[in-house]
């Protein structure tokens, strides 16, 4: 299952949805809003996305994972909008016959998600500034609001 949502992610339900008697292993990855990054304090994150393309890319990643590992079920949910510290921003659940496959497929899905799926996060720092996170760009982006 692929989903983008503005609502809190029900990762327990997502995990249940990938369980199967064909699978001996279920792996769940959660991305959560971290407070400290290189000594700077985050108070919240805002996520923006390009929904049509993001969903298409997530479906492509699921297909690629299924072509590389014996995935029984897979589910990826990404939250958009305003998230507070500790909130779950992304959940990836994978079931496979054996644990190595499930770990590898789950890691592939979250690693590639972060590289190709058009979703962006904006830091809300504790000093009141905000900053889009755009990996690989030269300068630190800082805009007072």
């Amino acid at each position: 299952m692929i989903q983008l949502t503005q609502d809190p992610i029900d990762f327990a339900a997502l995990t249940e949805s990938v369980r199967s008697t064909q699978a001996g292993a279920v792996v769940l990855f959660l991305g959560t809003v971290r407070e400290m990054t290189h000594g700077r304090q985050t108070v919240a994150l805002d996520y923006d996305g390009y929904p049509e393309m993001a969903e298409a890319k997530l479906r492509d990643l699921e297909s690629e994972a299924r072509s590389r590992w014996p995935v029984v079920e897979a589910g990826i949910v990404h939250r958009l909008g305003h998230l507070e510290l500790g909130d779950v921003s992304v959940a990836v659940a994978v079931s496979c016959p054996h644990r190595h496959q499930a770990f590898d497929a789950g890691r592939f899905l979250i690693d590639r998600l972060k590289e190709v799926v058009p979703i962006w996060k904006k830091e809300n720092w504790s000093d009141g500034s905000t900053e889009w996170v755009h990996p690989g760009t030269d300068e630190a982006v800082d805009s007072r609001q």
Binding site: Y50, W120, W132
Partner: protein, 81 residues
Amino acid sequence: MKTVVKLFARARDLAGAPTLELDLEESATAADLRAVIGEQVPALQIILPSLLIAIGNDYAGPATRVAGRTDLAAFPPVSGG
């Protein structure tokens, strides 16, 4: 020809708008589009080298033709997760 490009994240903030309407040559490629964005929207020059171009649900290579497409988007590197 008039071409509309959707913007996201910092590109949208810098442009101050969710879309751009640009005038492109009929033979324009994604590389041309990036150059035209820099010429017609100076506020986006700062992120031009890293600006990604998408056609529909796929990333466009520099030589991909873009003129006349109605499903173009431009945005900086992604940071989901």
